[in-house]
Amino acid sequence: MQALRRKDILGLEEMSAEEITLVLDTARSMREIIQRKIKKVPTLRGRTVLNLFYEPSTRTKASFELAQKYMSADSVSVAGTSSSLVKGETLKDTVRNVEVMGVECVIMRHPVSGAAHYLARSIEASVINAGDGMHEHPTQGLLDMFTIWEKKGRIEGLKVVIVGDVRHSRVARSNIWGLKKMGARVVISGPPTLMPPDRAELGVDYCPVVEEAVEGADVIMALRLQKERQESGLFPSLREYAELYGLNARRLAGANEDLLIMHPGPVNRGIEISSELADGPHSVILEQVTSGVAVRMALLYLLLGGVKEE
């Protein structure tokens, strides 16, 4: 099997459609391992991975750790807080120390956009971005695409609508880049204050009215609404948000019959999406989580896998 010819996975903006396809193909074989009774392959035995999370995470962290265990990699997880970065040891020093202990790949989540680029520049080990500030969350984008691909058999030609706080969302950015490279059409919707200030480079259409945006949609992604956005004055109240932009069955009437409903989690039920939809027949929210492990196994394999010369 081919390997990815790159040291790091920092974002989907810089990945090609061929590379994305390779990851999705590989993830398909990985999913087969997860479905076995004994979920363990020796592929990454003796390889060492660091999970470095400067922000809280349940899903992504568990998903990466399981992927490492299923592949027999040795891993260590460290939680940090951004305040200790400012006052204590720098990110660079932290990681250089761990690197000399033999770590070959660092998975990092960090509150500052660009932190993954900075880290990748500072160390020899591979870096997988597990979310950097408001920039990208490439493994989430890949697992979302993998889920769509599994369910729909294709990505090309689909209409995908992303609803919510696109402005502050790294999940949205990764999905926008990935989906567009794979030939989907991406529309964003939500209040103007939660949209990126300038969409020219992102290449997406914006439709402020959700009912119109979802017309003919194949996939709808709801984004998590951070409550502090309301406190900073970007919209008047949670109940007004839910009333104008929250996803519910009535609002999605114009979407396609075989619509997929997605959400990166954690879900604010009754705010950005109704429970009826989140738990309904169109929802693939839990499948996304399963896809996450497969995609992360694929990435670890492609970055660290057997093809590497010793």
Binding site: K92, A115, Y118, G133, H135, R170, D198, R199, E201, L202
Partner: protein
């Protein structure tokens, strides 16, 4: 009587309307004579300026010397040597030091330390006490102590009424206010220009409107109070247009631009992979803004070029983008970068006389400083330039303690070869003796 004889150079002195091959004779630190075919008195020190440009000493009106308080980034001595290496014979230092230069004692401290610097250093005092934007600082007493202008540089004066009073009060003591135009609420949390690039990078943006709204307000206040205003580091097309209209109305307003805003755009943040040397305030703007700054510079809307030398140690800058301080160091690159623009022919109307005006005559005029011209009897502050010298910006060789610039490694044509302050050679061929 000590004499210095600068032989056969092309004298470019826009304040005197002079551009010709001539000799320049310096006696006792003053310009004694400028004419072709002078005979040097015996014992004169001789500088052969054949094929070189002899200009009135360059003056950088916007420098952060970090002294007192952050001498690990820069101090008056290292900053002075960096200035000399960059062809500057004088500079004005901003008051955001620690303690802040909002008090005559700090102004006097800087003045006392200036003896150590190889170039002339003119302190700028704060407009408001502690740069807090709440009370007017003692501008009158600071002026008596030697402050040449007043500025809260680094942030805008948010309170409009306070700004009105500061402008009005300053007009009574004939003081110049230098304004950093930024609405801190509109720019809150921003680390780069707001636009398509910030939208892709997921970095918080500072909209052009944050600068323009404050500049528009200050121009209206200037109209109300009279007085004099100098707008620091213009960065947007809208700002250029505001200054252009204010000048057309006859208001006493001047403006400056930095080389990095003339040469770089917000794309540099992306192309460098979030390198913090691209983090500067005001931020690197769009290509449209950059073109408008050039237009403003060429049509005279923008009077001066200044480095906004903002040194930071590599430890300070070698962190995640949001955590890094704003600033680009530029004392040693400003003149070479601008000379290269002339040599490259990218701007047909941009020439040596205009450059000397923007870097010497205009700064002297704006701050009311001696110099900026080579008329007989003026201080013999002289910058001698080799317009054909090719070199590479190499921060490892800088005299500045700090190396933070995204322009490191640029290949350039044109460099200063002598810096002369009061008739003394303080830099020769890039070397500044201690």
């Amino acid at each position: 009587m000590k004499t210095l004889y600068i032989k056969g150079g092309r004298i470019v002195d826009p304040a005197e309307g002079l551009d010709k091959i001539a000799d320049l004779l310096v006696k006792n630190g003053l310009v004694y004579k400028v004419a072709p075919g002078l005979r040097p008195p015996p014992g004169s020190e001789v500088v052969d300026a054949t094929d070189l440009i002899v200009a009135p000493g360059l003056i950088d009106i916007h420098v952060h010397l970090r002294d007192p308080g952050q001498e690990y980034k820069e101090d008056i001595f290292s900053g002075g040597r960096a200035a000399a290496a960059g062809g500057f014979t004088a500079l004005a230092s901003m008051p955001n030091t620690d303690p802040i230069a909002d008090d005559p004692a700090v102004i006097r401290y800087i003045r006392s330390k200036v003896e150590q610097a190889v170039v002339r250093v003119y302190p700028i005092g704060a407009i408001t006490a502690g740069l807090k934007g709440e009370m007017i600082a003692e501008m009158g007493r600071m002026k008596k102590a030697g402050a040449v202008a007043f500025s809260d540089d680094g942030k805008g004066v948010m309170n409009g009424n306070l700004m009105r009073n500061a402008l009005s009060y300053a007009s009574g003591i004939d003081a110049l206010l230098i304004v950093h135009e930024e609405d801190s609420l509109l720019a809150a949390g921003g680390v780069m220009h707001e636009g398509p690039v910030s939208s892709v990078l997921g970095l918080r943006g500072m909209p052009a409107a944050a600068e323009e709204a404050m500049l528009a307000r200050d121009i209206m206040l200037l109209e109300l109070t009279g007085g004099r205003l100098h707008a620091a580091h213009l960065s947007t097309a809208g700002s250029v247009e505001l200054v252009r209209r204010a000048k057309a109305k006859g208001l006493q307003i001047t403006a400056e631009v930095t080389p990095h805003h003339l040469l770089l755009t917000d794309r540099a943040v992306k192309n460098s992979g979030y390198h913090t040397d691209t983090k500067v305030n005001p931020p690197l703007r769009s290509e449209e803004d950059r073109q408008a700054l050039w237009e403003g510079l060429l049509d005279g809307t923008i009077d001066a070029i200044a480095s906004d030398h903002a040194p930071h140690s590599s430890d300070d800058k070698d962190v995640e983008y949001d955590f890094a301080p704003f600033g680009i160091a530029g004392l040693e690159s400003t003149l070479p970068l601008m000379l290269d623009e002339i040599n490259s022919g990218r701007r047909k109307e941009f020439n040596i006389a205009m450059l000397v005006d923007k870097l010497s005559a205009a700064p002297a005029r704006i701050l009311g400083l001696p110099g900026g011209r080579l008329s007989v009897g003026s201080p013999a502050d002289v910058t001698i330039i080799d317009p054909q010298r090719s070199h590479v910006i190499d921060t490892a060789k800088w005299y500045s303690k700090s190396k933070n610039t995204p322009l490191n490694g640029r290949r350039l044509t044109g460099a200063p070869v002598y810096t002369i302050v009061g008739g003394e050679i303080v830099m020769k061929e890039g070397v500044v003796p201690e």
